[in-house]
Amino acid sequence: MSNLSVLIDAPILLVQLVASGILVGAIFALVAYGMALVWGVMNIINIAQGEFVMLGGYIVFYLAGAGVQPLFGIPIAAAAMFVFGFAVYRAVICRIVGRDMFVSILATFGISILLQQLANQLFSADIRTLPSGLPTFSFDNGLVTIAGIKIVGFVAALVVGVALFVFLRYTRIGRAIRATAQNARAARVLGVDTDRVYATTFALNGAICGAAGGLVAMTWFIQPYLGLTYTLRSFMIVIAAGLGNLPGVIVAGSALGVLEEAAGFVLGAEYQTAFVFLLLIVLLIGRNALLARQRKYLR
């Protein structure tokens, strides 16, 4: 527990941990948005979510190689991944919508393996990283430092979150998406083209992952096998936020980020991820107990 006493002696370090946790969590939250959307609307858990992030990262990486400023690469990657998401929907996903969730997990797991191996063949397993070209902000004699790119990531996550909220709330297709999520059959009866809704939703998810991937390449690094980390993390955030709670996603993402950093500091890096998973289990048990009480009232 000597690490804890360090934290008590220098509380400013807590600021570093919280700030870094919130900023890191926001990028994960961005990926989780997409997953929550697809899950909520189509009842599909997209295991290939992390691979979409990876592909977005490679697009920005290679665009940067061709001379495109990485920050401008992000919208291009989002657009490209929108198209890619649409293509994946037409090729595979449209055949499994409405089927058992197990089928969708298997199918998207297959897609994830395929994308990993393809990326490995096309881009090699080398670890790639992109300098963001942004300055690092330093406070209190360098005890707290925040990389510019992490702030960009946080802002991007917020912007996408708000944009998605507005889109779902006020646009025609957004309303159609919400209607389909509530009751696909009723929506069809009322003239909503649910197939188009699903395609748009999945493509939108691709775009979100594409943008997140660009941020990941600029903040950390990319390689063909990074997907599972992002899939699991976004899965966890969606669960923690509660399904259908889109605004909750960014809060949950950031909160998990902060707790993870704090655990890494106090307990050591080896318990960093383990701690968060433990927390998730506690959360699920707690929520289940709460729900059980509600169910009793209903009865």
Partner: protein, 419 residues
């Protein structure tokens, strides 16, 4: 009747032939080596380095007339399988190489983990294996008789860094006991063995290990560890975790302006840190199995520089040490085969055990456990975006720069040089 009988005879003949020569086995003037290497999966970059190293050795040895065993010259040939960077697959494929393809001998895979998976198989079949990419010390504590490794064990990667710290402390009039070390090393066999080496040498000098973090395999952010480093201000931060560890270490230390007098890493050259990070990689110390400036020579390649030139010409990239040690593994086989004068497995094993040779990669001599005790590691430091060997003194091209300048000073310097 006659034709029926001849058809029957032909059928039996074909069946016999098929039975006698299954798979890829040796024709009478080729020695077939089998290797399961990682061509896909997380080790595929280093797996390719390994394969390229083997292929170049085979090509050069064959071009120079092959290997003379007894009175007969044999050509070498390698049969590859892709182990997909997974241990279970590696073991399965070596079983197949030996059992079905009847290869004559086995070359090692890439990584300690894969070597650990296949060594029990080669032992079971009493099949000699020379490997250049499995360095975890625990490999040599199993009593294996048929495994020989041309490289230094992994605990040696960063021992030199600890020694440099002790020297510099003494020079500055400080007691080495006051030196503080922070360790952030991935939680796998190889990397933890690197850590054990650091801790053992630190103990020898009475240094304090103030941070000892085990990085999880899926970690992509070291902020928690680096925040601790900021708080505890150690004299050295030592990070290891294959290419990912090197990339993440340089990137986040620079980005978060974490100041340590010494940053020590592994896998710098295969992670291409100077190309990726330029100035930000300056002053980092790196442990390496081999360096192109070393001047050992052998009859096949000449010296390291000549090897590097040949390699670059053939594969279009500079050979990392992972390729060099793979090439050396084939050379060791060629040398042992010549001395054994036979293809008999046990005779070749005994010849391997008596190996005492010099390759461009370094001298090779095995102890009873099969590890190479003649070679030493090198430690280089990135100075002006170039690798400069700083230890051991025999190969040193320059002096270590310690302590590294602070980030403020580095920024000021780069502004001056820009003007």
């Amino acid at each position: 009747m006659y034709t029926k009988r001849s058809i029957l005879a032909a059928a039996i003949g074909i069946a016999l032939l098929a039975g006698a020569a299954p798979g890829i086995a040796a024709t009478d003037d080729t020695i077939v080596l089998g290797a399961a290497v990682s061509l896909t999966g997380k080790y595929s970059t280093n797996g390719k380095n390994t394969k390229d190293g083997y292929d170049l050795a085979v090509k050069v040895i064959n071009d120079k007339g092959g290997v003379k065993v007894g009175n007969k010259a044999y050509k070498l040939k390698v049969v590859y399988y892709d182990d997909e960077s997974t241990s279970a697959r590696g073991a399965q494929l070596v079983e197949r190489l030996i059992g079905q393809d009847h290869v004559d001998f086995v070359l090692g895979p890439y990584s300690s983990a894969l070597t650990k998976a296949i060594a029990p198989v080669t032992e079971k079949y009493k099949m000699p294996m020379v490997e250049g990419n499995g360095a975890d010390r625990s490999l040599f504590q199993q009593g294996y008789k048929y495994m020989f490794a041309v490289l230094n064990t992994s605990d040696y990667y960063l021992r030199a860094a600890v020694n440099i710290l002790a020297d510099e402390a003494k020079k500055a009039g400080r007691d080495p006991k006051s030196v503080k070390i922070a360790i952030a090393i991935e939680n796998d066999n190889f990397s933890q063995d690197v850590r054990d080496g650091i801790v053992e040498d630190a103990k020898k000098y009475g240094m304090q290990v103030v941070i000892d973090d085990k990085l999880p395999a899926d970690l992509n952010d070291m902020t928690a560890t680096l925040t601790k480093v900021k708080a505890l201000k150690p004299d050295a931060l030592m990070i290891s975790g294959h290419e990912k560890g090197a990339v993440l270490g340089i990137r986040q230390v620079a980005e978060q302006k974490v100041y340590v007098p010494m940053l020590a890493l592994t896998h710098c050259d295969s992670a291409q840190i100077t190309q990726k990070f330029g100035k930000e990689s300056d002053y980092a110390f790196c442990g390496s199995q081999w360096d192109v400036s070393m001047t050992y020579t052998d009859p096949w390649f000449g010296n390291s520089q000549q090897y590097a030139n040949m390699f670059k010409k053939a594969y279009n990239y500079d050979p990392p040490y992972q390729a060099a040690e793979s090439t050396a593994s084939v050379e060791v086989f060629a040398d042992a085969l010549k001395r054994a004068g036979s293809l008999d497995k046990d005779k070749v094993r005994d010849a391997l055990a008596k190996t005492d040779m010099t390759t461009f990669f370094g001298p090779v001599k095995f102890d009873a456990t099969g590890k190479n005790i003649a070679k030493s590691m090198v430690m280089y430091q990135v100075q002006h975006e170039k690798y400069v060997v700083v230890a051991p003194s025999k190969w040193a091209e320059g002096k270590p720069i310690y302590p590294a300048p602070t980030w403020d000073k580095r920024e000021a310097d780069s502004k001056v040089s820009r003007k």
